[in-house]
Amino acid sequence: MHAHFLDPYIQRASPIHRLDPRIKLVLAIAFIFTTALTPPGAWPAYVLLFSMVLAVELLSDLGVGYVLKRAVLALPFVLAAVPVLFTLGGPALVSLPVGRWTLELSQPGLERFLSIALKSWISVQMAIVLASSTSFPDLLVAMRAIRIPRLLVSVFGLMWRYLFVLADETLRLMRARTARSGQSDLPGLKTGGSLLWRARITGGMAGSLFLRGIERSDRIYMAMVSRGYDGEVRSLPLPALRPTHWLVLVCGLGILVLLLLLAYLV
C-alpha cells in the first residue's frame, strides 16, 4: 500500500556510496558532459566511456543488471533519432523501398544514429548510479555545494518529503476509483462512461490532490512557525572535503579530459 518503491536509493557499503555526494555529482555531470562532447563515430572513446561507467557500476555494488534494466527506460526516445538514419546524406548501405519512396540507409546516418543511442545509453547509466548510490539528503548537500539557491533546495527537500505521502494518496484514490468501476449484469450497457466524464473524474482527483496539498502546506507552515521559522532559510555550513575526495575529484576530471583529447586525436 506504499509508494516507497519510488525511491531508487539502494543502501550499500561500496566505495561509490561512501564518496562525498558533492564529488559524485560533479563527476557524474562531468562524465555526461564529456560523453556529450565526444564526436559522433568516436568508437574507441565510446568503448572507454562504457568501460568506465561499467567499472563504476561494479564498484557501486548495485549490480550491473539492475542499472542496465533501469537504463532501458530511456530507450523509447531513441525513436526520435531514427529518421537520421535515412536523411543524412552519404553512401547508401541499404535501400528500402517503402511505397512510392526509397529509404536509403546511409553510413553517416548509421554512424550518427548509433552515436546518439550509445552516448545516451552511457549517460543514463551514470545518472542511475548517481541516484541509486546517493541518498536524497546527500543530494541536497550536493545541490547546495554547487550553489543552487537555498530557497530552491528547501523546496526540493519539502517536495521529496511529501512526495511519498502524496503518491500514497494518489494510489489510494486510484484504488477507490477502480473499486467502484464495475460492470452491471443488465444487458446492453456500455461501461466506463464517456471519455469526457472519465477525464473530468481524473481531473477531480488531481484537483483534490492539489487542494489537500495546499491545505496540508498550511499545517506544515504552522509546524515550522512553531519551531521558530520566519521565512529565512538557514542551514548548517557544509563539511570540508577530505583530501581523499579531492584526489578522487582531480583524478576523475583528469581521466575525463584525457579521454576527450584521445577522442579527438583518433
Partner: protein, 236 residues
C-alpha cells in the same frame, strides 16, 4: 444471487518481499456478518484488497459465484462493495451526489436509474439532504457514511469495510453502528473496535502475521482471554 465470499489458500507477498498473507482460507455464507480482527500488520487490509481483485495473490478467491480473475474483475467490482479506511481517498468528486453516482454512472445505467440509486443510497445512510454538499467540507463521521453510500449505490451483494469506526467520536460511532446493523447485506468488517464486533457480528475471524488463527462464534472466542492476548487483542 450468491452473496458469498470464499477464499482458499491465499498467499501474497508485496514487491518489497514482505509476506502479508500465508495460506489464508475463509468462507462466508450469504447474509452472514463477520468481523475480522487482529493487530496492525496482520494482513487484514491486504486480504480485503484481494476480494475485489485490486491485489492478486496465489490461491483462489471466489466472490458471489465468480472467480476473481482478470476476466471477471468488472463484474466482481459491481458485486463487492469495498469501503476503505480513509474516507478522503474514497471521496474524489466535488459533490456528494457526484461521488455516490460514480458507481452506477460507470456501469452505464440510464440517468433516471442513477438518480434513483443515489436517493436510495443516501437514504440508507440517513444523509438524504447532503446530495449537493461538497464532500471536502464534511466531518469525518459524515464522510464515512457518504463513503458507504458511494458503494451502496452500486447495489452490491457483499459489503466489505476497512476500519469503519476508526477516528470517530462516540456519537458518530454509535450512528455508524446503527447503520451497519440496519443493512441487510453479507458483511465482512475489519476492525479494532472489539465492542462493535461483539455487538454486531456473530462470527469472529482472528488474523495474525498473515494467517487465520481463529474462526468461530464471537462470544466464545472473546471469552478466551489467552487467545486474545496472544494476538494483541483485548477483551472488550
Amino acid at each position: 444471487m450468491h452473496h458469498s465470499i470464499v477464499v482458499e489458500d491465499l498467499s501474497f507477498s508485496y514487491s518489497d518481499g514482505h509476506t502479508a498473507l500465508r495460506d489464508v482460507s475463509l468462507s462466508i455464507q450469504p447474509c452472514e456478518k463477520v468481523a475480522l480482527v487482529g493487530p496492525n500488520g496482520a494482513g487484514k487490509s491486504t486480504l480485503i484488497l484481494h476480494l475485489n481483485g485490486i491485489l492478486k495473490g496465489q490461491g483462489r478467491v471466489h466472490v458471489c459465484g465468480l472467480d476473481v480473475t482478470d476476466k471477471n474483475l468488472a463484474r466482481v467490482r459491481a458485486m463487492v462493495g469495498l469501503v476503505f479506511q480513509a474516507p478522503d481517498d474514497q471521496l474524489f468528486s466535488p459533490t456528494v451526489y457526484d461521488d455516490v453516482a460514480f458507481g452506477p454512472l460507470y456501469q452505464g445505467l440510464p440517468q433516471s436509474e442513477v438518480e434513483q440509486r443515489v436517493q436510495e443510497a443516501l437514504a440508507a445512510v440517513h444523509m438524504s439532504d447532503y446530495a449537493r454538499r461538497v464532500s471536502h467540507h464534511l466531518s469525518v463521521g459524515e464522510k464515512k457514511r457518504i463513503a458507504i453510500a458511494t458503494v451502496l449505490s452500486m447495489k452490491p451483494e457483499v459489503l466489505v469495510l476497512d476500519e469503519p469506526t476508526a477516528g470517530l467520536d462516540p456519537r458518530a460511532r454509535r450512528s455508524l453502528i446503527h447503520l451497519l446493523a440496519e443493512l441487510p447485506l453479507t458483511m465482512l468488517v475489519s476492525t479494532h473496535d472489539m465492542l462493535m464486533a461483539r455487538e454486531l457480528f456473530p462470527r469472529l475471524v482472528i488474523m495474525d502475521e498473515g494467517k487465520v488463527v481463529a474462526d468461530g462464534p464471537t462470544q466464545a472466542l472473546m471469552d478466551d482471554i489467552e487467545l486474545l492476548e496472544a494476538h494483541g487483542l483485548e477483551r472488550p
